[in-house]
Amino acid sequence: MEDAARLLQLVVNGAAAGCIYGLIALGFVLIYKATEMVNFAQGDIMMLGGFFAFSLIAHFGLNYWVGALLAIAATAAFGFALDAVVLRRVIGQPQFAVVMLTLGLGFMFRAAAGITWGYDSVGFTTPFTNRTVHLGTMVLGEDSVSIIVGTVLLCAALYVFFSRTRLGIAMQAASQNQLAAYYMGIPVRTIFSLIWAISAGVAAVAAILLSPVSMIDVNMGFLGIKAFAAAVLGGFGSIPGALVGGIVIGIVEQLAGYFLPAGFQEVTSNVVLLATLILRPQGLFADTLRKKV
């Protein structure tokens, strides 16, 4: 009985970590679907979002919710500007140029964050820090629960946005057929920048949800590598796939940390990535209808 509860607790903690991977992976997938670019700076954008929130909440002393909202908005604006100023110029260039550019941008963000906020880990108090929820025999941290609930709410909001609103449908349309979207009078460039804004905003949400669990520091962007594995597992290009991939990797990681010798936890995401590429390279949720060019 105690073992079952223990296992369930591990699964919940893993799912919470997985939600964070899933949210970052969601950012990868949104940008990839729309512009066929892979943004390797996604994790570092998340790190910036975390620091924005830290500055606003811990430094300027804003209320948690207000500070979080402002940080998300600021990160989204940053994502918009990043596309409008920098990345728009490499559309149509070889994929390799985009990879180098975004990797380089990631380095720059890390350096800039180090200069601005220092290299120490920082944190801020949230309403969820150090509190627990009792569910039967299980004791769960409110932080883990808030991550899962926050992710579910965000995904629901994104789902409604993409399937019900005119702008959301226009984003889908621009992703599916750029030229036709142009012919319909959809301002495709602005739409793509808005998609960057959304994925940067989602990354900021991930950083803020993660902050009670782990500290914010310059290198938290390396979570992006695990999120990349999540996106590949989900079939790079599938939004539900990214989230499911993230949660699978989070849970596998937790279980590996408990049942396997030390050190395995760190490599499990890469093991899952390799296994996916060997066994099911199209991912769990490959599109049934391929995009025609």
């Binding site: 449908i169 889908q172 349309a173 057929n177 030229l179 036709a180 012919y183 009078g185 301002p187 495709v188």
Partner: protein, 260 residues
């Protein structure tokens, strides 16, 4: 032809390049309000390039594109659409993962009058009843003919003054082609939309349109009202495929015609 001031679209001496390759070598044409004009030509004559230059996807190196009294050469396509010029691209290009209805809503992206959009969607369903039956289906699952109907309807949703149609008969059965051209004529007559039609199927294009241009390797080699064009020997032989019975009573099927 009417006076210059009345023309809805007036293209003068445009030259368009794909990199170093010149696709359009100085084309002049015009479309009056409510008129159907067709551009005929073989593969690679530059028909599609003319439409792309007009709608703003390509920028002409020289020459002017005047639409509704304004020069639209080099203006991006999303702004051209707002001015009332809508392009139905070759190969239909519907949004495959959106439903038929969502595709139509996207066609009206530039508009903000909800009632008008709703009315126009009903109008499109009136012209193409099959689209109403498929309204909830993904556009990628429609047949080729249905996708063409959707592409035309989607363009109509923008309430254009001028519709550019690029090869609406592409890949359709002769019967379906007849039907679609019938509806194109009705749309022209009932909605007063001017149409610039590019076609390889010269027979049906000449029957549908009022005025025609013949394009060869980037130049206009002949232009006239369609009823006159249909009577010309060259057109009969090269575009309509009528048999020419010569003195020796057989068809000179290997003769090459040079226009210059």
């Amino acid at each position: 032809m009417s006076e210059a001031s009345e023309a809805l679209l007036r293209v003068t001496n445009i030259e368009t390049f794909y990199g170093p390759i010149q696709a359009i070598r100085g084309v002049t044409l015009q479309v009056d309000p409510g008129q159907i004009v067709t551009v005929l030509g073989a593969n690679g004559a530059g028909k599609t390039t003319i439409l792309r230059t007009i709608c703003g996807v390509m920028t002409p190196e020289r020459g002017h594109v005047m639409f509704d009294g304004r020069d639209i050469g080099g203006i991006s396509p999303d702004r051209v659409v707002r001015m009332g010029l809508c392009h139905v691209p070759e190969g239909r290009e519907v949004f495959p993962f959106l439903t038929v209805q969502e595709n139509l809503v996207m066609g009206a992206y530039t508009r903000h009058d909800r009632d008008g959009v709703h009315r126009d969607m009903e109008m499109c369903f009136g012209y193409f009843p099959v689209l109403r039956e498929r309204a909830g289906q993904r556009a990628g699952l429609l047949s080729g003919g249905e996708q063409q109907m959707l592409a035309i309807s989607r363009a109509l949703m923008a309430k254009p003054k001028l519709l550019l149609l690029d090869e609406p008969s592409l890949g359709l059965s002769p019967l379906l082609t007849q039907q679609i051209f019938g509806i194109i004529r009705r749309i022209n007559a009932e909605q007063g939309v001017a149409i610039l039609l590019v076609e390889q199927n010269a027979h049906i294009a000449l029957k549908t349109a009022d005025y025609g241009y013949v394009l060869e390797v980037g130049r206009v080699v002949m232009e006239d009202a369609c009823i006159h064009l249909m009577e010309k020997d060259d057109i009969k032989e090269f575009y309509l495929g009528h048999k020419e019975t010569g003195v020796r009573g057989r068809r000179r099927w290997k003769r090459k015609k040079l226009w210059r």
